[in-house]
Symmetry: C2
C-alpha cells in the first residue's frame, strides 16, 4: 500500500505536464518511484487512473466554486475570485492534454465539455443574476446570453492558435478580456466596485 491517495495529485500533475500519451504507465511508475504492479493494485487500468486524476480536478473546482458563495461580499468580488481560480486552473489544460483527451478518452472529454457548458455556465448565470439584484450589473442584459458569452471567452483562451501570433503573455489577454467584459455588463456603480475591489485583491499576482 505504498501508493497513498495523495499520489493521485502527483499523477495528475504528470498528466497535465506531459499529456496522456507521453505519460505511459511505465514512465508513470518510474516517476512515482514505484512499480507498475503497485499502480495496478489501486487502479484497474489506465482509463480508470486517468478518470480518477482528471475527475478529481473537476471536483476540486466544483468545491472551490461552492465555497465562493459564502465568502464573497458581492457579485463582483465573487466574479474576480471565480476568474482568478478559473484562469489558474485553465493554465493546466495544455494543448497536448486536451488533444490526447479528445482523441483517446472521448467520454472524459465530453464530461469536461459538459462541465463547462452546463455547470460553469450555470454558476455564471446565477452570479450575473445576483449582481443584477445588487445593482452592480445592468438590468437590460440577459444572464443566459452573458453566461454563454463567458464560455466563449474561455474557449478563446484554451485555443492555442487564436492569440498566439500576438505573442502576448496569456495573463495580459485574460485581463483584457475581463476588462471589456466587465465594462460591458456593469452599471456605473458596479464599475466603481470593480475598480476598487480589483485594486484591493491585486488580481495581478
Amino acid at each position: 500500500m505504498s501508493l497513498a491517495p495523495t499520489h493521485i495529485s502527483t499523477i495528475r500533475e504528470l498528466f497535465f505536464r506531459y499529456g496522456l500519451k507521453s505519460m505511459t504507465m511505465d514512465e508513470l511508475a518510474r516517476q512515482l518511484g514505484c512499480s507498475k504492479k503497485t499502480i495496478y493494485e489501486h487502479y484497474s487500468d489506465k482509463k480508470v487512473l486517468v478518470h480518477a486524476a482528471l475527475g478529481g480536478f473537476l471536483n476540486e473546482h466544483r468545491g472551490e466554486m461552492a465555497a465562493l458563495d459564502q465568502n464573497s461580499d458581492n457579485a463582483i468580488a465573487k466574479l474576480i475570485r471565480m476568474a482568478a481560480i478559473g484562469f489558474q486552473k485553465m493554465r493546466n489544460l495544455t494543448p497536448t492534454l486536451l488533444f490526447d483527451l479528445q482523441k483517446s478518452y472521448p467520454e472524459l472529454w465530453m464530461e469536461l465539455e459538459r462541465y463547462r457548458k452546463e455547470e460553469i455556465v450555470g454558476i455564471f448565470k446565477r452570479l450575473i443574476e445576483r449582481g443584477q439584484q445588487e445593482g452592480l450589473f445592468r438590468q437590460e442584459i440577459d444572464p443566459s446570453v452573458v453566461s454563454i458569452m463567458h464560455l466563449q471567452h474561455t474557449n478563446l483562451l484554451l485555443d492555442p492558435v487564436v492569440f498566439s501570433h500576438l505573442n502576448h503573455p496569456i495573463a495580459n489577454i485574460f485581463h483584457n478580456i475581463m476588462e471589456v467584459f466587465v465594462g460591458g455588463i456593469t452599471t456605473p456603480s458596479g464599475l466603481e466596485v470593480w475598480n476598487t475591489t480589483k485594486a484591493q485583491m491585486n488580481l495581478h499576482p
Copy 2:
C-alpha cells in the same frame, strides 16, 4: 508537390504544440490537409521530418543571433535583444516536447543540448567580453563563468517544476532573473545604459 517547403514551419508548430508522440504521421497529414504519401515523398521517415522541423528552429535562432552583431549599438542593447529572442523561442519548448525529444529522439536532444552548452554559451561569452571593452560590464567578472551562469538561468526557465509553485507568469520570472543578473555584472554606467535602453525598447510587450 503540394507540400511546399513553407509547410515545414507548420509542421514545426504542430510538433511544438502537441509534442512528438501525440503528433502522429496520420494526424500530421490530417492537420496539413494532405496524405501521408505526400509527406513521405518529401521526408523518408518521421525521424528525418522531426530533424528537419527542429533543426530549422536551431538554424533560425543561429541566424537571428548572427544578425544581432551588426544591429546592436552596444553590448547591453544586444543583451536585451538576445534575451527577448531567446525567451520567445524558449516558450515553444514545452515540457511535452522536451520529454518526447529526450525519450524518442536522443540524438536530436543531444544536438539541442550541445547548441545551448556550446554555441549559446559562446555567443554569450563574447557578448560579455564586448561589454567589458565598452566599460558596461565590470572587469573583475570572468566571461566564462558568467556565460555558464546564464545557461543555468535558462535551465531554470525550462524546468516546469522549479517555479511552478509560485504561480507567477513566466515573463515575470524571466524579468526578475534578468534584473538580478544584469545588476550583478554591470558597472554603474552600464546599469544606467541598461535602464534607459530597457525603457526605449519596451521589453515588456
